[in-house]
Subunit: 408 residues, 2 copies
């Protein structure tokens, strides 16, 4: 049994990017400015013909970053001016973080230590004027579902539990909507467990909740013994700062999940995640950007950071040796815009706060320009899916009648 | 009126990548090998823990490339060995090309010149042992739909017209399936026009056709006055070398279109396109890869190359000056795999042939590993879409009850 080593990240999992903590920084430091500009044009898109603008944050925020050692970055997307609507600029904050104490510590202490670590990062967001803040998936606990042990369910809380209360005070203090992804204990329905995002309004009130729609069964990501597919549909929450929705973690692999939030009118979809390098890192820059493009909304992607080591070893059922950690959560939180542009990513190794200004008017502007919603032929696909879900569905296949004829 | 200038590409549209003709080549020449490897890991994914393998092509192919000045590149994806199935390795070829004669030349001469230009590239594919070859969208003509002039419809042909006949001889000679995207004249239905891909079997027979499902109405990409949304559904063609489908151009922006080809069992989906830099280049590396990931199949993306200038100026209805060209078609054809890896792209300036070996067994392997099909909850979305298409659909929105309360 390995000794828990939280906080000490393993060399082999974090050495990527050759000592740089983001792809963006590696490229910026090693390409000449002209080359870097061209590469950025393709990798992060262009908006209104110019690069994303970096935004200055108040000293109150940057000093917290320096003092507590978290990455802080801020950017602004632009949109066209309209004649009949004022700009609807929303400042969005994303927080990624590692856990604090070893997973062998008392559960109450582990949770409290995460609260304490998050305070200055949330303060930095609040003092930066963030309007809507989102934390990572199951932020109030280690991501222990890889262990398949049920004792970690003790971390679960009702929607109005201590984690929500902790965040409500900040929501009220900073007039800030906060999306809080937790492990939920549903007291009113037999104490079952859900993977849930609680939406806290800018007055500190609870607006509602959404439960993760798609549950992975992938190696150590087999979470299906902890919670079931969500029963909350695809709610869009109309907040003081725009219409938001939450696509939790594995749901980002499902284009229909992204689509349904779009059909319900989302302007920003958060994707709080917990995912590790070897498995998903090449997918990370793709899926959220595609969702933003296809659905004409902003996507804010958050991934936790660090390696979490558990007291008892477990296997992935893949023939490989038992192990005590899940791999390296690579952070790299970022925001994608409907016009195919995106921000650079936060660090893949450190805690971080990403602040992004976005004019929500861009969503409709892109809809009008590209017309994806209008040209989507939903009737055709409603019919296709209705036929597909029947057990006797026959795929539309045209076989070459000469399929089995030998070539001359 | 500008003088047509086909063949002379305009400086401002092709100068991207600082003289390099692909992102991959710029990065390879300007980063040290260790940095390049790390950047490639994220940008093109890894398969089986190692990089894509470059493949050697026969001298008969490379000498044609040298003689006729087209880019030629070849790669191989890998898959796991299985116990009960042999590998099903298919060699796929993609051709991108510019037109040859000025658009003012006689239409018959323009088409003939394209045939002549393509011959050595198709010969290179055939002599490389390509099993399935796909050409670019409307390959037998300039992409004249930006002009809104109807005389270009003269290029249209029935499914068994001269372009098909031209390719049938190569299909037979090289035992090669060929996907031929043309402008179709539907003689049997009132001579209407379609944007169609003809699938030619490896015995030179016509297996079937598919008509473009989603028609753009985007600036100069307004093709909706030439042809309507396709009426052929989402056919998958069972050929001697796997189950293939064709998602023509603008259909790549529609996740449901990709999905339906997957539901019908496609293992390779071709995306023959004609798209220009300013509008879509940041989307190009995203959408096809996302489709490959989400649907557990290979995607082969082709874009034409060069700038095509027309005799009469036209506008995009965007307040900008009238112009005689559509912009620079940036080539950059590439292949995406279901495990999130992809090949480097062909040149953004030159004609090219991309040859890729793929073991189709990878599709099911990824399905079993990631389980996207299994966890997709299609019943939920069949219901969502059935409700959405009704005129009285009400989105699922939860409004903050304190939405209009002033902050303290």
């Amino acid at each position: 049994m390995e000794k828990p080593q939280n906080g000490e990240e393993k060399e082999e999992t974090t050495a990527s990017f050759c000592g740089y903590d983001s792809l963006h920084r590696l490229l910026k430091d090693n390409l000449n400015p002209h080359h870097f500009q061209e590469v950025s044009r393709l990798l992060t898109g262009l908006n209104c013909g110019k690069a994303l603008e970096a935004v200055s944050l108040p000293e109150s925020a940057t000093s917290l970053s320096a003092e507590h050692g978290f990455d802080i970055q801020a950017f602004s997307f632009c949109a066209d001016k309209e004649l009949l609507r004022e700009p609807r600029i929303v400042r969005v904050g994303l927080i990624q973080n590692s856990i604090v104490l070893p997973t062998t510590a008392h559960f109450a202490d582990q949770k409290k230590a995460i609260f304490e670590k998050l305070k200055p990062i949330i303060e930095a967001a609040g003092s930066s004027g963030v309007n809507v803040l989102c934390l990572q998936e199951a932020w109030m606990m280690p991501f222990a579902f890889c262990t398949r042990e049920k004792r970690w369910c003790e971390f679960a809380e009702p929607v109005d539990g201590e984690s929500t209360k902790f965040l409500q005070s900040f929501a009220l203090k900073y007039n800030m909507v906060i999306v809080s992804p937790i492990l939920e204990r549903d007291i009113n329905h037999g104490e079952v467990i859900w993977n849930t995002a609680v939406v806290i309004g800018n007055h500190g009130n609870i607006i509602g909740k959404h439960r993760k729609n798609h549950i992975p069964r992938v190696g150590d990501f087999n979470e299906s013994t902890y919670y079931m597919e969500g029963n909350t549909g695809h709610p869009v929450f109309e907040t003081a700062f725009g219409k938001i929705a939450i696509n939790i973690c594995y749901g980002r692999h499902h284009p229909l999940n992204w689509l349904a939030f779009g059909l319900n009118g989302a302007e920003i979809v958060f994707n709080p995640s917990a995912t590790v390098g070897e498995l998903s890192e090449p997918m990370w820059p793709i899926e959220a950007r595609n969702a933003a493009i296809a659905n004409s909304y902003f996507v804010a992607s958050i991934n936790r950071v660090g390696t979490e080591t558990f007291p008892n070893q477990f296997t992935s059922g893949d023939g490989k040796p038992a192990h005590a950690d899940f791999g390296h959560f690579y952070g790299s939180s970022y925001v994608s815009a409907p016009d195919a542009s995106c921000t650079p990513s936060l660090s893949r190794n450190r805690d971080g706060l990403l602040v992004t200004d976005m004019d929500l008017n861009l969503c409709r502007q892109v809809k009008d320009k590209w017309g994806f919603r209008m040209t989507s032929r939903y009737e055709l696909y409603a019919d296709t899916l209705a036929r597909y879900v029947k057990p006797d569905f026959e795929p539309q296949v045209t076989s070459d009648p000469l399929l089995h004829r030998k070539s001359l």
